[in-house]
């Protein structure tokens, strides 16, 4: 038995088919992309986020660490960024890069946890003979000068 259809329903169906035909290429491309997302597992990963959104938020709220990081790393930095000019940004970026390279190449957890103590005035004078320490002191004084200088608005 065939289903009865009203003239309005037939007209709607015809309009729908017309729309489909007009966009056949785009729809085919969309379908291909959807299938690719499904095959690659990306769609399934997205569905996990959608289905477990509530749990995701819950995990975040169990430990404020992520929010603390956002406060310092994003909000704190954003506030400062709006006060800088373009050359300042390039300057900060290059300084950060240099600092990270030096830390990465020269620092170690042991160096911080178990430093060689500098004892008394003779120890200090002896340490000052080291050219690396001399350069380090130069950086430290430059930093002190920089920290003490009022930022120009």
């Amino acid at each position: 038995m065939s289903a009865q259809t009203s003239p309005q329903a037939e007209q709607k169906l015809a309009e729908l088919l017309k729309t489909l035909a007009e966009h056949a290429d785009e729809l085919q491309s969309l379908l291909d992309q959807l299938l690719e997302l499904k095959r690659s597992g990306v769609l399934d990963a997205m569905m996990i986020v959608v289905n477990r959104f509530e749990e995701l938020i819950h995990y975040l709220f169990l430990d404020p660490a992520v929010f603390r990081l956002l406060s310092i790393g994003v909000d704190g930095t954003l506030g400062a960024m709006s006060k800088l000019e373009t050359p300042d940004i390039l300057n900060v970026k290059a300084t950060m890069q240099e600092l990270i390279v030096r830390l990465g190449k020269n620092a170690s957890p042991d160096l911080i946890a178990n430093p060689k103590p500098v004892k008394g005035i003779w120890g200090l004078l002896s340490a000052l003979k080291d050219p690396d320490v001399q350069r380090g002191l130069g950086v430290a004084f430059a930093l002190l000068k920089m920290l003490g200088k009022q930022p120009q608005q």
Partner: protein, 393 residues
């Protein structure tokens, strides 16, 4: 032959607490014929209250802020449209306008009643209900200039940041309409400084924003007076403030079904339902959980969706764990984030929560910090609420 009676879990309230708890228990007990979950609500839809302001401003339609509770059918949760009249925990019975219901476990999350009577707040506009939001929308459309007063007579009301947001949002709307120079905006509030419980960073941002937007703040009002409709005046302590458009923030009160029941207790900040801070379980009844706004002031948490949501999760985990005989980890939250819209920009603040089981309290006041202050914050707030709504049931 052994016969099994299904465990009856009765959930009261179709707001955030009830919906979250029903969904969680249904997920945990999926496929179990021996568990029967019924949700009772006086509406047949779930409405996300933070979106009421978007309805009032004409940004979205009411349908975009709600989900039909009938969606619960596919989770095996039965929904009943009824108004809860009385809860009788001694006889495990709930009385509604559609009859009585028995339970083995009760989860009640009935929000708070809004007190529009004490200060004649019915004379003003608000967006604490759907009807209110629609009337507010109309009032805004008919407002073309004059004095706008936002009146918050008491410190305990739904969504603590609301009054501070709405003045910023109204400023932005009037600017867009080109009438800001014809409008004065005043906020009357009990806090000495705006948004004080969130701590110094939030106070500083808010005071700077109010100064930049020319919003007047009358704080520290400890003797609020009634609204005088005839003279269109609000009395706040010694000051009388005239208004052309009044926006009111009604104080929260204990919902009627709890009145006179042994589920409540007297606390320094009022009469509220008494619960365990970690689980939402009633202090007196092991089979009753009360993760609603009506319990939040008693444990030190704000009357807002986030703490209710996660207390409801904790309660649901307790109930499901007991039914299934599985270990229970209620996992109450240690942080809560609040997304705010100040008109031109949005803010996200996080508050670290220190749970104190010995004193049955959660401390958060003053332990809050901004995690984002940017126009992008408005977008994130929208995205957050819309995803939240879409994934609720």
């Amino acid at each position: 032959m052994k016969s099994y009676m299904p465990k009856k879990v009765l959930v009261l309230g179709g707001g955030v607490g009830g919906v979250v708890a029903a969904k969680r228990i249904a997920e945990r007990t999926r496929g179990r014929a021996d568990v029967e979950i019924t949700l009772i609500s006086d509406t047949d839809y779930y409405l996300l209250p933070p979106l009421l302001v978007n309805i009032a401003f004409g940004d979205i339609s009411p349908q975009q802020a709600m989900l039909p509770l009938s969606r619960f059918a596919y989770r095996g949760v039965k929904t009943v449209k009824a108004a809860v009249k009385k809860i009788d925990p001694d006889n495990r019975t709930v009385e509604t306008d559609q009859g009585k219901f028995q339970y083995d476990y009760l989860i009640a999350s009935l929000g708070t009643d809004f007190d529009f009577k004490s200060y004649n707040l019915a004379a003003g506009n608000h967006n604490f209900t759907l009807d209110g939001a629609l009337k507010f929308k109309e009032a805004l459309a008919n407002f073309h200039g004059g004095s706008v007063v936002v009146y918050t007579p008491e410190p305990i009301y739904r969504c603590g940041v609301y009054p501070f947001e709405i003045v910023g949002q109204l400023d932005a709307i009037f600017r867009k309409r080109g009438i800001r120079d014809k409008v004065d905006i005043t906020l009357i509030h009990p806090f000495q400084r705006p948004i004080q419980p969130l701590g110094p960073e939030a106070v500083k941002i808010t005071e700077e924003t109010f100064a930049a937007k020319n919003i007047k703040y009358i704080g520290g009002v400890t003797q609020p007076g009634p609204v005088d409709e005839k003279t269109k005046t609000v009395t706040a302590g010694s000051e009388k403030v005239k208004y052309d458009l009044l926006v009111v923030v009604p104080p929260s009160r204990l919902p009627k079904p709890f009145e006179g029941t042994p589920l409540t207790a007297q606390f320094p900040n009022g009469t509220w339902t008494a619960i365990n801070v970690l689980t939402g379980r009633s202090i007196k009844y092991d089979d009753v959980y009360l993760p609603g706004e009506h319990s939040m002031p008693a444990i030190g948490l704000p009357t807002a969706g986030v703490p209710v949501h996660f207390t409801a999760m904790a309660s649901a985990n307790m109930v499901a764990g007991e039914i299934l005989g599985e270990p229970v980890d209620p996992a109450q939250i240690n942080a809560m984030t609040c997304a705010m819209d100040y008109g031109e920009f949005g803010m996200m603040f996080n508050c670290d929560i220190k749970l104190d089981p010995a004193n049955n309290k959660a401390a958060w006041m003053g332990s809050c910090y901004s995690i984002l202050k940017s126009p992008l914050g408005k977008l994130i707030k929208d995205l957050f609420y819309k995803t939240w709504l879409a994934t609720t049931i």
